[in-house]
């Protein structure tokens, strides 16, 4: 081989190598760019994506260089390549290899022939030099760069389209579920409260009713997010950039709120369910300071003057207090009333509220012996736009006069149970709620609520005690005198739950029972009421008071569990007293005229036609039943059916309604809703959640009551043995079993 051809061969080989290097480099770069773009679209960070792109580039280069048509050429492979491309080399291009040193005449001859063709062939670069094909590679590189630059919006678009493929109603989108990264809630209490703005970093909020709340939610990805309050109206969240979304609302009631992410196809993804407790602005509490008796009698010869001190407390401030008074003058049907609006003489601010004082001079009010004045106090707080009103107990002041001894017996309606006054059943209900809510209530709140209930129990006890001669409270007169002179059975009361028969009669039992004593004392010879004396209402009432003492004690010690049995006992005795009273009333008051069978059956009934009336199915599901059915569903460790989900939804709705008045249930309502949104996922993440939810629902179920039921006997008419027996019995006398032996 001549030196010239060897150099030319090497040069050609180098040229081929450069071309392949450029081509493979471009292709590798395209691969690397595509990998980088894919990584960015997949959600990896820029540095990780770059690492992935470089890895792709390296791998691409390695594969292209080591395998396939573009692999790196050595001289032998180059000679082979030339043989393929140029037939004029007659498959002998290897003779041009620089290290081809074999000799021989035939080989030399052939070499010379190839050398002759060499220059001509080398000039045909299109034939032996592969084309660079830069355009497709550059296009792919450009596409990769574009995809990388638009990775964020493209990802959001892809997410939406994947969600759309899930179909409407599909709340669970594994892998594409948006996450609430953080929450910032700016709470702006109503201005009148004077409370400062606060910022909460938790989605569960506790605000004063009427507060404005401005949320700023940060999600892990952009999307069409909605806020849904208890009115179930979806409010779009405003995108404020960087995956942050804002919303605001005014919160009046305790409620749940939900955050959804809506997908373009109508699918809705539940991001979270959270609770907002709206702490209500309570009305002012008005209490008379000792002596706090509600009945004051002033003897004819005593000075008709006294003073009252009243403490008014409120959570945010008292603006006004006034005295509403009615002066009664006269007797019997000639009694006349005069209403007056009076003001206090002075007020003092102390640690627990405002103490209002008034000095009363009955003569200045134009009263004379025998007149009475009834007054109560209205206090208003600073709530806006409508102030809350608190009302005191009614105080009765009598300026006694011998000539009016019988006036009270004519019956003057006295409001003996003011608004704040809770019935025994209400105290039981609230005690049970308190016990139920204990796991979800902090210790201080629990103690406060228990003590408040204790005070309510104390008030109720004092009220009943006053009319039964409880000497520990004020200067209440002896029960017989008090009840006989002032209270008639059946006086009206403005208790909170008039619809509850039991409840509504508790107040009346006080007066009625006291009146009964008086009547028993004087009319024990009456035959109609003889049996009633076996159940002395006053005795029962006094037993009720004894139980109330114990209940109060335990409530004040923050031990409602121990108070509850005493509360029930008190209610039982109150009920028994009421029952005794009812028997009495019935026997004297309701004696229906006798309707004999003969008279009824001999009448002219031509115009009377039989009729049938069916009532619709009793479908009204009570809250307790809804909770019971939900408990049944949750207690069974089996997949949730459609019917089961419907029961849970109903219970969830009821629980949300309950949470409005019992914020301690807010967490349970939210937990139930979260569980319903993704039962399988929640169960996987929290295996005990289902049982805990069932347990919390169990506590809300009403007092157990046996249902209607059929008989449970093993012998049945459709038993084959029974059928056979019956057949034999019914068979003619020729049958196998004689009639009288069967």
């Amino acid at each position: 081989v001549s030196r010239l051809e060897a150099t030319s061969f090497s040069r050609a080989l180098s040229r081929l190598r450069r071309r392949l290097l450029a081509r493979n480099g471009l292709r590798g770069l395209a691969i690397g760019t595509l990998v980088y773009a894919g990584a960015r679209l997949g959600g990896l960070t820029a540095s990780l994506s770059l690492a992935a792109g470089l890895t792709g580039l390296s791998l691409g280069l390695a594969i292209l260089t080591l395998h396939g048509r573009s692999r790196w050429p050595n001289p032998e492979r180059f000679a082979e390549h030339l043989n393929r491309r140029f037939p004029s080399f007659e498959e002998s291009a290897q003779l041009l290899l620089p290290d081809s040193k074999q000799a021989g005449a035939l080989r030399d001859l052939q070499r010379r022939r190839i050398e002759a063709a060499w220059d001509g062939c080398l000039g045909q670069t299109r034939t032996w030099l592969p084309r660079l094909r830069a355009t497709p590679a550059l296009a792919v590189i450009t596409l990769g760069l574009v995809l990388s630059a638009g990775a964020k919006p493209i990802r959001a678009w892809l997410d939406e389209h994947i969600a759309q493929a899930g179909g409407p109603g599909d709340l669970h989108l594994p892998g594409s579920r948006a996450l609430l990264v953080s929450v910032e809630a700016r709470i702006m209490p109503p201005a009148y409260t004077g409370l400062p703005e606060t910022i909460a970093d938790q989605p569960e909020l506790s605000v004063v009713a009427g507060s404005g709340v401005e949320w700023r939610f940060t999600f892990d990805r952009p999307g069409n997010y909605q806020l849904e309050l208890s009115d179930r109206v979806a409010r779009p969240l405003e995108n404020v950039g960087d995956n942050q979304y804002a919303a605001n609302a005014r919160i009046e009631d305790t409620q749940l709120y939900r955050i959804h992410r809506d997908h373009s196809g109508g699918a809705r993804e539940l991001i979270g369910v959270y609770g907002i407790e709206a702490v209500p602005d309570r009305p002012p509490v008005v209490r008379f300071l000792p002596p706090n008796e509600t009945l004051l009698e002033i003897a004819r010869d005593d000075a008709p003057r006294f003073s009252t001190r009243t403490r008014v407390t409120d959570d945010f401030g008292v603006t006004e207090a006034e005295i509403r008074a009615s002066v009664a003058r006269g007797a019997g049907e000639g009694v006349k009333f005069r209403d007056e609006l009076l003001a206090f003489d002075s007020s003092i601010l102390d640690d627990n509220g405002i103490i209002y004082q008034r000095f009363w001079d009955l003569e200045q009010l134009g009263m004379k012996p025998g007149d009475e004045i009834y007054f109560f106090i209205n206090a208003f707080d600073n709530r806006e736009p409508d102030a809350n009103r608190g009302r005191s107990d009614t105080v009765v002041v009598r300026w006694l006069d011998e000539s009016t001894a019988d006036m009270a017996e004519a019956g003057i309606a006295i409001d003996v149970l003011p608004e704040y006054f809770k019935s025994q059943r209400q105290i039981i209900i609230e005690t049970e709620q308190l016990i139920t809510d204990r796991p979800y209530t902090d210790a201080d709140t629990f103690d406060d609520l228990s003590r408040t209930l204790g005070q309510d129990q104390s008030s109720l006890k004092q009220r009943y005690g006053q009319y039964l001669g409880d000497e520990t409270e004020g200067f209440a007169p002896a029960p017989e005198e008090e009840s006989a002179e002032n209270h008639e059975p059946g006086q009206a009361h403005d208790e909170e739950h008039e619809e509850d028969l039991t409840h509504a009669h508790e107040g009346s039992s006080t007066d009625g029972a006291a009146a009964l004593i008086e009547r028993f004392t004087h009319e024990h010879e009456a035959a109609e009421i003889g049996p009633i004396t076996q159940r002395n209402p006053v005795g029962l009432m006094k037993r009720a008071l004894g139980q109330m003492w114990q209940a109060e004690l335990h409530l004040l010690l923050s031990d409602p569990e121990r108070a509850l049995p005493y509360e029930y006992e008190a209610l039982k005795y109150l009920g028994l007293a009421r029952q005794a009273e009812r028997i009495y009333t019935q026997r004297l008051g309701f004696e229906p005229p006798p309707v004999t069978e003969d008279r009824r059956l001999t009448g002219d009934l031509d115009d009377i036609e039989p009729y049938a009336r069916t009532e619709p199915e009793a479908n009204a599901i009570t809250d307790g039943r809804a909770f019971a059915e939900a408990f049944q569903v949750l207690s069974r460790p089996e997949p949730l059916s459609e019917a089961g989900m419907a029961r849970l939804r109903l219970a969830g709705d009821r629980l949300s309604q309950w949470a409005a008045s019992r914020p301690a249930l807010l967490g349970q309502a939210a937990a139930l809703e979260r569980w319903m949104a993704d039962p399988a996922g929640t169960e996987h993440a929290c295996p005990s959640c289902r049982r805990e939810l069932a347990a919390s629902l169990w506590l809300l179920i009403e007092e157990p009551e046996p249902p209607p039921d059929t008989g449970r006997r093993t012998l049945a008419v459709d038993d084959p043995m029974t059928v056979e027996y019956t057949r034999l019995r019914a068979a003619p006398a020729s049958g196998a079993i004689p009639e009288d032996e069967g």
Binding site: A618, L699, P706, T710, R712
Partner: protein
């Protein structure tokens, strides 16, 4: 030699059969050779040949000696104190840290295999399960001194309860410390619903009413000085009621019927109230019924469908003879009938009261209390209700409701397949309107479950009240059904759904049973199905208790099972001592050396005899 036994099976017989012709040939040869020369010598040679054959037979099939078993062993069961390491110590799998030299026994039945000459066994710990105790061989000299129990034992409660009805849970706390303990029952919501202070070692009882249908897990806790001594789960399947079809016939509008209609109707019952306004005119009111259903006359067809008929005495007395006859026929076919007795009924001569009342003796009883407090199970209502001055008597009557002082208020008796009851009580509605609805509901639930038509089969039967299902232990499920091809399908939290065919009771009747082995703990759904079509006939739940719950009860069961096995064996065995059930004998094969020596001796003598002959 009495202790020597030689049993032959066919293979050994075949193997030894060749000895017979050889022996016969030897004897014949000896006879030919020696009979004429010396009969004594012939006898000697014959005897030697016989001994030789016996020796060979013994080598082929060695005889066995019956010998008293003399080896001893110690079996450590759950609760056993650690035993010193020795060769004869066996442990059951529930021993967590067995001694090093101890051998693990998967089942007590393996003992005689692992130690064939076992004669004495000392069982330490709480003993064996019943199935394992039965596997102990007879004649074993067993010593078992069970340790003291510490915990809740003898639990007993219904595994299935209707919501709102009373359930009674009884148990006993066993402890060496004899001071009283506080018992608490906590409901599924974690609320303490019953508390008692009871002496240790004394049975106690708690009555409670499950609030709602579902699977309820209560917890029974024993405390002393605020320390928890034991706490065990009490699982109950709480069921709802079943739809009832009611008919009320009354002679005039009443609060009684109204309260019943409202209460039962609100709870899904189909209620018809027919109020008589004239001899042939009625007003019908109903709930949960269509107009057509309500219009239906109380004819035999309707009476055949309803479950319970409530009639006041006056309405009953004025019913036509035909109608009373229809009702009587319907009661014979399963209808329940409650007659509210009053003076109108009493004034009707007995022959005119109808067939269904033939078994009742109803008499005026002046001077009796006019009201009483009905004693309702599980209720603490103390409301007194009016009573009619009527004495209820008659043969084969059963009390249904009694007063607080024991006076009979209501009684029932069978009439065909149905039941008839007479009640003296009135104004039950007082319970409903005075806020004591649970008492009202409890009363009517009791009346209905006692009297109303039974619609039981096919139904799964509740498990025994004292049975604790454990993982891996055989569990029986029974059902009542008139069908024959039944199966149960069981699925648990982890267990795969398995189906088992149910076998009918051997003595006949509708009872069918099957078994399953729960693998996991917790609730298992049990379905009663038709084996062919797979139609679901009934569904129920069974709770499988983890091994670490009710452990004291598990120990008690083991102790009793082991002691019962020992007592049973003692009555059949010769031993008289406590827990000693006799001398066990074991068989040992005869040492082959002896027949070999015999063979050598006999063959040597025979060889010498032949040599002398030559």
């Amino acid at each position: 030699l009495n202790a020597l036994t030689w049993s032959w099976e066919v293979p050994e017989l075949l193997a030894a059969a060749w000895l017979v012709p050889i022996l016969a040939w030897s004897l014949a040869a000896a006879h030919r050779r020696l009979w004429s020369r010396s009969r004594l010598r012939w006898l000697l040679v014959s005897a030697l040949n016989l001994l030789l054959a016996l020796a060979l037979a013994s080598l082929l099939n060695p005889p066995e000696w019956l010998r008293p078993a003399s080896q001893g062993a110690v079996l450590l069961t759950t609760g056993a104190e650690p035993a010193p390491a020795s060769v004869g110590v066996f442990v059951t799998p529930d021993i967590e840290t067995p001694p090093e030299a101890a051998s693990l026994l998967l089942h007590a039945g393996q003992l005689p295999l692992r130690q064939p000459a076992l004669g004495k066994l000392e069982i330490r710990g709480h003993g064996l399960e019943a199935a394992e105790a039965r596997a102990l061989p007879d004649g074993l000299d067993v010593t078992f001194q069970p340790p003291e129990l510490e915990g809740l034992i003898r639990p007993d409660w219904p595994r299935t309860v209707t919501a709102g009805t009373p359930a009674r849970l009884s148990a006993e706390f066993a402890s060496q410390d004899q001071r009283p303990v506080d018992i608490e029952l906590t409901d599924p919501g974690g609320r303490v619903i019953a508390e008692q202070r009871v002496p240790t070692g004394t049975p106690f009882q708690i009555t409670f009413r499950p609030a709602a249908p579902g699977l309820a897990e209560y917890r029974l806790t024993v405390k002393r000085d605020d320390g928890i001594l034991a706490s065990e789960p009490v699982a109950i399947e709480v069921t709802g009621g079943r739809t009832v079809d009611l008919l009320v016939l009354q002679s005039a509008p009443s609060f009684e019927a109204r309260a019943l209609r409202r209460w039962a109707g609100d709870r899904g019952a189909r209620v018809r109230v027919r109020t008589r306004v004239s001899e042939d005119r009625w007003i019908s009111q109903g709930v949960n019924l269509t107009t057509e259903e309500l219009d239906a006359e109380p004819n035999p067809a309707l009476l055949g469908r309803i479950d319970l008929l409530v009639v006041d005495g006056r309405a009953w007395a004025t019913l036509s003879e035909d109608r009373r006859s229809w009702i009587s026929d319907a009661v014979e076919q399963g209808l329940g009938l409650l007659i509210l007795a009053d003076t109108a009924l009493l004034e009707t001569p007995k022959p005119g009261r109808g067939r269904v009342l033939d078994g009742f003796e109803l008499e005026a009883q002046p001077g009796t209390p006019t009201e009483t407090i009905p004693a309702l199970s599980g209720m603490d209502s103390d409301m007194a209700l009016p009573l009619a001055a009527i004495a209820i008597g008659g043969p084969a009557i059963h009390p249904m409701l009694a007063g607080a002082s024991g006076e009979l208020i209501e009684a029932w008796r069978d009439h065909g397949f149905g039941r008839v009851a007479v009640s003296r009580l009135s104004e039950r509605f007082r319970w409903a309107i005075t806020g004591d609805k649970p008492a009202f509901a409890a009363y009517w639930n009791k009346v209905m479950s006692t009297l109303a038509r039974s619609r039981t089969p096919p139904a799964l039967l509740a498990p025994d009240t004292n049975h604790l299902t454990r993982p891996g232990l055989l569990t029986q499920v029974c059902a009542l059904s008139h069908g024959t091809r039944l199966q149960i399908a069981v699925s648990g939290p982890v267990d795969q759904k398995t189906a088992q065919r149910m076998a009918p009771a051997k003595l006949g009747g509708p009872r069918h049973c099957a078994f399953f082995w729960p693998v996991s703990t917790g609730w298992h759904a049990v379905q009663l199905e038709e084996a062919d079509g797979g139609r679901i006939l009934d569904r129920s739940w069974r709770y499988t208790y983890p091994r670490d719950t009710w452990t004291a009860e598990g120990h008690r069961i083991r102790q009793e099972a082991t002691l019962a096995r020992l007592d049973e064996a003692r009555t059949s065995g010769p031993g008289e001592g406590k827990h000693v059930i006799g001398q066990r004998a074991v068989t040992q094969p005869l040492n082959p050396l002896w027949p070999w020596l015999l063979f050598l001796l006999a063959s040597t003598v025979l060889w010498i005899e032949r040599r002398l002959d030559h």
